[in-house]
């Protein structure tokens, strides 16, 4: 099965977006005649594989390389670099060129920035005295469809950049990506934003519309009705909890990267012992995965078992009686799904082995205890003990962030003590990590009283008796905790944020709700509730685009899919995110790299 997902079945067809990027990339290659060496930023390799097959690149005479310290060994005289705007990458390129010149190699260099060129990068190339040797261009890749309902802007550390460094580059990128969407699908009439970064994005979006308007008369009904922007900062709690959906757990343990996991060959096939890594694609083109990805993992095991039993039954029936041709046909059809079955049974088995360990249930218990926020000392002691046992720093920090956020910080004495213990146990270089987290307000000194209890109660975040088999509420994705972010979106869709004003004020950042100018006159000013009237006639539901500024977890995606599958729900939901994250990957962006 291909890693590139089939996009046509989604609530909106993302194919045009992918095709456009595909076309732009190919035309870059076509414009450079003859054989060439395509040198990729290693960070771009994954996302690009969701757009174009390597075989297609090869058809266009490109030889693939990854950008690293080693000079390029190739007979090609033309070198094409495809990179993000990172200063250290410029240095690498400059060193490549210098090593070529010193060897007397004459090559033509092309440099394409993704998604746009940056002054700082070009300055550095000038300083390195290689700028005049390079032809510079842009490859405007802003959003990549990861699956039929998810767009990723591939900004790995936007959350840290904004919170710790105050860097807003990624916000411009997000606004640009949404604006580009509007060119394809029509101007989005309603904009809601919660959080500092989101409000900024909404402002930028309006400015872009002023400067370079999308003509709204072309399409009388815009395909996307509302965009809801939400900062990761508003809800730092959800990503720090361990996801309990099938896809979420796969991500927590095996780390899903660009719609695929790379795992030990022995997990998939017990006979394979050479320890080779195997890539397993995971997207909605896989029917069985489509069915099970959003379920709570406990349920997935049951579903797989049922399927296996029913298949076995079919098989025995097959042997016992004489079959008509059509029955045979059905049976063969079922057999076709066999590879999918084995794949997921293997994966599920691997996850079961990991989740049945006592350390896993201990971790879940601790997360639960912190969320209930009634026994601070127990939680603190637990984290202290983890540090003393030198458990992985990421796991320690995840719980520490959870504890700090729910308590509006740690009391000064505890704060200094735990920081000292961390430095002693993991090394002094982590002072940079602690500093980043403090600046971002994730692990900090206590200021004032925590309002977590109020928020928790008002938004019903802890749901008792959650039924994971027949879920009635989004809380099933964490077996009892309903993600804060999802609750906010639920309210935004159902009744607007006005009734929630008091609670929103307790969360970080401001919020805005606005109608875009072109529609404000047409619909009148009083529109607190989303206009449900302008539904397209063909029975399709209108669309809400939810954009997570700073990343989203698979569990939240599952929760949103669950919401839009509910009866009486007037909207389909599509998701835009800076990156699909989990607690580990998010925390790691804050971990300072030294040296």
């Amino acid at each position: 099965m291909s890693q590139i997902p089939n996009l046509q079945n989604g609530p909106i067809d993302f194919t045009p977006i992918r095709d456009q990027s595909h076309k732009e990339l190919i035309s870059i290659l076509k414009n450079i005649r003859g054989k060439k060496c395509l040198v990729l930023d290693p960070k771009l390799g994954g996302p690009l594989s969701l757009i174009v097959l390597t075989s297609v690149l090869k058809e266009h005479g490109a030889e693939l390389h990854h950008l690293n310290e080693d000079p390029i060994e190739s007979t090609c005289t033309k070198v094409v670099y495809l990179v993000q705007t990172q200063l250290h990458l410029m240095k690498l390129i400059a060193s490549h060129i210098r090593s070529d010149t010193s060897k007397g190699l004459q090559r033509e260099y092309f440099l394409y920035f993704v998604p746009r060129r940056a002054v700082a990068c070009e300055k550095l190339l000038e300083e390195e005295k290689v700028h005049n040797l390079i032809t510079i261009g842009e490859f405007p890749l802003y959003a990549i469809p990861v699956d039929e309902d998810i767009l990723s802007f591939e900004l790995d550390s936007s959350c840290k950049e904004f919170l710790t460094d105050g860097d807003t580059t990624s916000l411009w990128h997000i606004a640009k990506a949404i604006h580009k969407l509007e060119f394809a699908y029509g101007l989005i009439p309603n904009v809601r934003a919660k959080g500092k970064a989101s409000v900024r994005v909404a402002d930028m979006l309006n400015r872009m519309q002023d400067e370079e308007p999308v003509n709204s008369t072309d399409t009388d009904v815009p395909e996307i009705n509302t965009v809801i922007l939400i900062d990761r900062e508003v809800d730092m709690i959800t990503p720090m909890c361990c996801q309990l959906t099938y896809e979420g757990l796969l991500d927590e343990f095996l780390h899903i990267n660009n719609g695929a996991v790379e795992i030990d060959g022995s997990i998939m096939d017990a006979n394979e012992k050479d320890g080779k890594k195997k890539k397993v694609p995971l997207n909605s083109t896989d029917k069985l995965f489509r069915e099970t990805r959003d379920l709570n993992f406990e349920v997935v095991v049951q579903v797989l078992r049922q399927k296996a039993t029913s298949m076995k039954q079919d098989y025995t029936e097959m042997q016992s009686t004489n079959q008509t041709v059509s029955e045979l046909k059905d049976f063969v059809k079922k057999l076709n799904s066999l590879p999918e079955m084995t794949r997921h049974i293997n994966l599920a088995q691997h996850l079961s082995a990991l989740t049945s360990k006592p350390s896993f249930s201990g971790r879940l218990d601790m997360e639960q205890t912190i969320l209930e926020a009634e026994s601070y000392d127990i939680c603190f002691d637990h984290i202290e003990e983890m540090i003393h046992k030198q458990e992985p720093l990421v796991s320690v920090l995840r719980l520490l962030i959870l504890l700090s956020v729910t308590n509006a910080g740690l009391p000064k004495r505890n704060f200094d003590y735990i920081r000292r213990e961390i430095l002693h146990s993991y090394g002094f270089e982590h002072i940079a990590t602690l500093n980043n987290l403090e600046k971002a307000g994730l692990v900090k000194k206590q200021e004032g009283k925590s309002n977590w209890l109020t928020i928790k109660r008002a938004l019903q975040l802890i749901v008792e008796d959650t039924d994971t088999t027949n879920p009635k509420d989004v809380s099933y994705v964490f077996s009892g905790y309903a993600p804060l972010s999802i609750r906010l979106i639920q309210h935004a869709i159902r009744s607007g944020w006005r009734p929630l004003e008091e609670i929103l004020k307790l969360l970080p950042g401001t919020h805005t709700e606005s109608k875009r100018s072109a529609f404000a006159n047409a619909n009148g000013p009083s529109s607190d509730i989303l206009p449900g009237m302008d539904k397209p006639q063909d029975g399709r539901r209108s669309l809400v685009l939810v954009v997570f500024v700073g990343g989203v977890t698979f569990a939240e995606i599952s929760a949103l899919r669950f919401l839009s599958s509910q009866e009486g729900m007037a909207y389909d939901i599509i998701i835009g995110t800076t990156k699909i994250i989990n607690g580990n990957t998010l925390t790691e962006t804050f971990m300072g790299n030294m040296g």
């Binding site: 003990e385 003393h388 046992k389 030198q390 993991y426 090394g427 002094f428 030294m594």
Partner: protein
């Protein structure tokens, strides 16, 4: 103040990134950072950390000279204690413990883990 802080932070990693041969200048750089942190009231914690870091590097350097094994520098305090116990050098371990006022709780965890690594079950039994 913010500018100054970031400058100091930039220096610290620079120092930490240096190779083994630069012990002398590295410790000096960290001590300089410590003094800069000490100038303002808000950075008492950072200043203390830098002081301890410098001290740790010195001790680790001494340990490397005395054991002739380049395995100490750039490991954390806890790791240093564990390495000492694994090597059977309990006196050095005790010294690091008292030098950095390591709490009893942490000390016991470290000792248990270290003794388990070298499978010294007798010593484990004894304490």
């Amino acid at each position: 103040l913010l500018w100054k802080e970031s400058w100091e932070m930039a220096k610290n990693p620079m120092a930490a990134g240096r190779g083994y041969s630069l012990h002398g200048p590295r410790i000096k750089l960290i001590e300089k950072a410590q003094n800069l942190f000490a100038e303002t009231k808000e950075h008492v914690f950072e200043s203390k950390a830098a002081e301890e870091h410098a001290k740790l590097l010195r001790i680790q350097h001494e340990l490397e000279v005395s054991t002739k094994q380049p395995i100490f520098v750039d490991s954390s305090i806890s790791d240093t204690i564990r390495t000492c116990i694994v090597l059977g050098n309990h006196r050095a371990a005790m010294k690091v413990k008292t030098e950095f006022k390591v709490s009893e709780k942490r000390w016991y965890w470290l000792k248990v883990f270290a003794l388990a690594t070298i499978r010294d079950w007798d010593a484990l039994e004894k304490f």
